[in-house]
């Protein structure tokens, strides 16, 4: 079992995104570093558009993630509603 992770710039836009990730991934751990925030989850991390929209109170396109993204790891699968990172081993 290995962690996948995603890191964002730490700002007002990503606060809601990180809260949404924590809501949808109960095993997530958050690591705050200067100006950035990194979220690790064992095996698989899911980001759901609907949860982000609830958190930030507006419509959200998952491709907006790119604006504040710093780095990630794992295989990506992206649809209109979900963005998933996973390892397959």
């Amino acid at each position: 079992m290995s962690n996948v992770f995603i890191a964002f710039q730490r700002n007002e836009e990503t606060r809601g995104i990180v809260d949404a990730i924590l809501a949808d991934n109960p095993t997530a751990t958050v690591n705050e570093q200067p100006a950035m925030v990194k979220v690790d989850v064992p095996d698989q991390l899911v980001i759901r558009r609907a949860t982000i929209e609830e958190q930030i109170g507006r419509a959200f396109d998952l491709q907006e993630l790119h604006v504040n993204l710093i780095t990630l790891s794992g295989h990506i699968d992206e649809t209109d509603d979900e963005f998933t990172l996973s390892w397959k081993h």
């Binding site: 200067p34 100006a35 491709q63 993204l69 710093i70 790891s73 390892w87």
Partner: protein
């Protein structure tokens, strides 16, 4: 009136229509004439349409998000410059990391732009071609934003002014330069494994994430802005690197041994370049976010370990030099900064001895190695400097033929003994810093015998300005080399202690407190 509203296309449909669907097969010319570089490396691709960008980024979305990133970035840079940002950093020692970055890394961004434009053109598949086009545009954006961000520092600090000139000449800058020149002179598939996979996926986190987080920690909003803006593109680059390697391996079983050899080679090439990052993290940042060793454990051992465990299903194993790189994490930064301290007269940035508090931090982060091997060294240098004998090495070091780094790395398992390796090719002897670099040479000696090694070039007389006269009795070869580098002695080089940068920073801080 009834109006039929067409349903908005989903991400997958949009990606198919706007990438593969826009491509065509040429008929006026044979396909192999249009894509002449795609076969000679021995990689076999049967169906290019099997490649798919998992982000499903199309050009229209690309422009939209990149424009937003640029607007954010330049707003921050304006604010930073308008508010005397150059004074807000923790200490002017920090500025030296930026000098190293601008001279060593920014020109590589430009070369990456050229490289991805070239391989994008070389691939017959529309999916990789579009992804390479985006990366090529990203890379020139990175070069430009770094130059813009750092230009403000050039108004106040020394050592930035000749970055482009120096990239092609200064001894340690041949390390990053030759790394990228090596990559872009490879075939398109090797370039993708070299830069897209080995560098972007396995190693780039080590370069950008702790460095840029460190910039923020040291009060440098300018570098933080360009760094994170660049890094937001990096996620796409890493994904391209990972997807392309899976794609190549899935296309034909014959591709595996070729790809594995490239992974072995490019992991080691990239790891050697990161030597500069190791010393930057441990010695050059006045306030440090994490040690090189900690960063290596998170981004290489844990994350890289997960990656290679995942690629094992294709038959891929960890790169050959992996274990040695992990073993060396206790020593790399200390040995590197020692060499830069030695050659502090020949580099366009300042070096210094770590202070007592710095050494206590290093000792806590490196309990296995610092007090035993490196603290005595720094104590010796500090005592010498106190007596007015700040040590500057005036002999030229022997360089590794492959990575071009001075031969200072130690034997695996014995940090008290310098590692030397050699090979003979056409009757000539070539020297290497490690088994990894020797093996890279032995696989392609005809390429690496052509290396432009700064020390050899100096001894051959190629590194003097045109008006230098070696026949004069007072001819000072090292001073002439510095002139050729366009390093102003006593201003751009030597110890941080006593430098104009330090004097200015202290004076400006006094002025900043009142009238």
């Amino acid at each position: 009136m009834d109006m039929k509203v067409a349903k908005k296309l989903g991400l997958k449909d949009r990606y198919n229509l706007m990438t593969r669907d826009l491509a065509w097969t040429p008929t006026y010319q044979a396909v192999k004439d249009v894509y002449p570089y795609v076969e000679y490396e021995g990689i076999k691709i049967h169906d290019w349409d099997k490649f798919e960008d998992p982000f499903r980024m199309t050009m229209d979305a690309y422009w939209k998000y990149q424009a937003e990133k640029e607007r954010k970035l330049y707003a921050i840079i304006d604010a930073f410059n308008q508010n005397n940002g150059h004074l807000g950093v923790t200490d002017a020692r920090y500025i030296n990391t930026l000098k190293l970055f601008l001279t060593g890394v920014t020109p590589l961004e430009y070369m990456a732009h050229r490289g991805f434009a070239h391989v994008g053109r070389a691939f017959p598949g529309a999916g990789p071609r579009v992804a390479c086009l985006m990366q090529s545009l990203d890379e020139i954006r990175h070069a430009q934003t770094q130059i813009h961000s750092l230009s403000n520092y050039n108004r106040f600090y020394n050592g930035f002014q000749n970055w482009r000139h120096q990239h092609d000449r200064v001894w340690y800058l041949s390390v990053p330069k030759s790394f990228f020149d090596d990559a872009i002179t490879s075939g398109p598939f090797e370039f993708m494994i070299a830069i897209g996979f080995a560098f972007e996926y396995v190693l780039t986190n080590l370069l950008f994430v702790p460095f840029i987080s460190g910039a923020a920690y040291n009060g440098d909003m300018g570098a933080m802005a360009f760094g994170f803006s660049a890094q937001s593109d990096e996620s796409r680059h890493m994904t391209l690197g990972l997807e392309i390697i899976k794609f190549i391996l899935e296309q034909d079983p014959d591709n595996l041994p070729i790809v594995q050899r490239w992974i072995d080679k490019w992991f080691w090439r990239g790891y050697r370049v990161l030597t500069l990052v190791a010393m930057m993290m441990d010695y050059m940042l006045p306030k440090r976010v994490m040690s090189w060793k900690e960063a290596w454990e998170i981004y290489a051992e844990q994350n890289g370990g997960a990656l290679f465990a995942d690629l094992a299903r294709y038959g891929i194993r960890v790169p050959k030099g992996w274990k040695q790189a992990c073993d060396d994490k206790d020593h790399l930064s200390h040995q590197a900064w020692n060499v830069f301290y030695n050659y502090g007269a020949a580099a366009p940035f300042h070096t210094w001895c770590p202070g007592e508090k710095d050494m206590d931090w290093l000792s806590a982060k490196y309990p296995e190695s610092f007090d035993r091997y490196y603290r005595p060294l720094w104590q010796h240098y500090a005592a010498e400097a106190k007596e007015g004998r700040r040590f500057y090495n005036t002999t030229l070091p022997m360089l590794c033929q492959t990575c071009q780094i001075p031969m200072f790395f130690t034997e695996p398992g014995d940090p008290s003994k310098i590692c030397y390796r050699e090979s003979t090719y056409h009757g000539m002897k070539y020297h290497f810093c490690s088994d990894g670099c020797k093996e890279i040479f032995d696989n392609e000696p005809q390429k690496y015998v052509q290396s432009w090694l700064p020390v050899h070039q100096i001894y051959q007389g190629h590194c003097f300005p045109p008006d230098a006269d070696p026949t004069k009795p007072d001819f000072n070869p090292l001073a002439e080399v510095l002139r050729w580098y366009r390093i102003e002695f006593g201003r751009d080089n030597l110890d941080y202690e006593g430098s104009p940068d330090k004097k200015n920073f202290d004076a400006w801080h006094e002025l900043a407190k009142g009238n």
